[in-house]
Symmetry: C2
Subunit: 427 residues, 2 copies
Amino acid sequence: MKTLKVGLCGVGNVGGAVLKTLINSSQLLEVQGGVHFDLVQVGARRGKEVVPFEGINITTNLLEVATNPEVDVLVEVVGGVDFSYELVTAALKEGKHVVTANKALIASYGNELFELAKNNNVEIGFEASVAGGTPVIKALREGLVANKVKWFAGILNGTSNFILTEMELNQSSFKSALKKAQELGLAEADPSLDINGTDAAQKASILAALAFHVPFDFSFVSFEGIEEVELEDLKYAKELGYSIKHIALGELDSNVVCVSAYPTLVDKETLLSQVGKEMNALEIFSEGVGSTVYYGPGAGPEPTASAVIADLVDIAKGGWDLDINSDSSNELQVSDSKKAARYYRIQVNDEPGVIAKISSLFADRNISIEALIQHEAKAKANLESIPVVIISGEITDNEAFKLKNELEDLPEVTPGVKKFRIHLGKK
Amino acid sequence: MKTLKVGLCGVGNVGGAVLKTLINSSQLLEVQGGVHFDLVQVGARRGKEVVPFEGINITTNLLEVATNPEVDVLVEVVGGVDFSYELVTAALKEGKHVVTANKALIASYGNELFELAKNNNVEIGFEASVAGGTPVIKALREGLVANKVKWFAGILNGTSNFILTEMELNQSSFKSALKKAQELGLAEADPSLDINGTDAAQKASILAALAFHVPFDFSFVSFEGIEEVELEDLKYAKELGYSIKHIALGELDSNVVCVSAYPTLVDKETLLSQVGKEMNALEIFSEGVGSTVYYGPGAGPEPTASAVIADLVDIAKGGWDLDINSDSSNELQVSDSKKAARYYRIQVNDEPGVIAKISSLFADRNISIEALIQHEAKAKANLESIPVVIISGEITDNEAFKLKNELEDLPEVTPGVKKFRIHLGKK
């Protein structure tokens, strides 16, 4: 049986679960993985008090673990970017493999880190950085290795998905759904990186590097969070046969790769639209195989630990020996030239001629109207404005943005026109 | 870059797609997989006419490929069992790795073949044997390696799922849905192994060996096909909030493993219930991670070839080095002692007292009635019998079978009482 000598840095929620699994499930890992893990050293800033096991070599100096000559592989679950970068580069330079759950680190420094790993003939495992316990990195890198990926579409931020599900199913406001997520431990005290789309966009940039062999480059990802989505939008989406999900999208078209993450209308008939609560899911469309979908918990200590340990087992068996980003023929571009159908919710004064004005504006720009809803405003006294919802034909992000501004310039239209993409998932 | 010398046996639909991918996608496989494939020899009974490529060493004697000293790995996509067994054992004995798409072979001879592979220090790849292009074997063996699997539930036969979907969505009869499947190439001229449940049961026995470390043993799998499902049942299931799917189930309970494959009611709120057409899906529930679901095409030349080639890449990288079935603490048992809720459709004479009689029969056996539907029989002239649908509490297969017989013994009940399991997917 193979043995792997592990150094663990970080004993927070995830690190604690990794520790627990390595110790309590050692027999299971030998049976299922064929690997014996030797926990050489644990780095915990707060020291022994956070390590509820006896007989473990604990240090409060985390860099000591990263450079410990006895360690074969460093597990980095400290989080943050700057110090993690320091730890990981130190370990790689010493010829140690690295397993990390840190999407921000990989999205920001992936190119440099993988280059360093290659030069030192070691591996970096990052399954835990995207979709937690669901093995999506493995599916992309190995399971679908024979196929050219054309696009992927993922629900990659559990907090956002929980909030949208709460709003849709319980008619909660954004605020109260967020509060509930925080109470359940599904959103942090400062939830900005989750709800403003950054987290999903970072994960999308990691998936894009793997799927399309482009550099890790978060600066090419265009994104917005879910703050703009209102209860009213979820209701209209439902009426039109859609859910609203926060969708991270990567697309390859004639060697051009576009990556984005936006609140998006998804057809009610698709599996992605059925992914509720804090769950994650990723649809990968590739030539030959077509669509495959991977669904599971995207966060949480145990699912994340599961992914970390799967990487450790793979490394013990020889790793993946793969030059990520080795195909330079694909090129990352910002996605504002990609076409998509759009949803607009326009609040208008209930005056004669307003629909004509709006639809002329679409017609003048040669943008088709695929669907339009204006409900009768009966029994709604004192309404300042009434909603008109339009599904447009396929237009670029730029055209969509311009159209929104022009709609808002109409005197009958209240500022704050809502616009969201529609994901049609072309086969 | 690693090189793997491949011998391919079988150039039917799947073999043809493997051949095409190895030749046409060789550059993609080098970039994405880091492996160069050297196609040493192709065994095709019909010889050159079925191999539309130049410069390939072709033989009509397939055993020549299996024993060719230049070949590192034999790809067996001949199908059938007896001759495949001969080919595969010949290759293993010569110290060659084997990759196969043959679920019947693995389900029938898995133990012997893996023992032989172990003794000859080679690997057997069988990703393509279950769920085609969806990497479920990889997820079980590697992605979820850190977790104890408690149960899996899968839609593993595309033909059956296509027929049930047709019946549900288009109110087709079983016969006309089967005919459509045959016209679309989704069912064979003799569809028995698909629709009588054998195919799904074989796949379930493979998944069980991998998930629970029990021997491959198809004789422990209890199963039925979809022939018993009528349009009427799909309608009642829908009314009760369920779809009917053919579900392959593997469960671990206190070291006892039960495997089965039955038409089963699945809650409309679950992802499995949303899996339509000929698609496959597998839900795996494990400790720690909870539920993960894998969805994709379960058959077809290109998806199957994709799985075959993923195995080849893994073998080129060193394989999985895993002793399947190494944990002898779990024991396979026939599943008739496993409890599940049940759906009964009972055709009765529309006479006073019949519901009382039926419900007494349930009560006398201490079986709870969770739901009962009897619709008013208005405007249905000349009906010989009317349906009564009952959802029972959890009972064993044996109890369910006995109850069915006792119901049929009642003079008011027409023989042919329908009974199906309900999958609650306990967490």
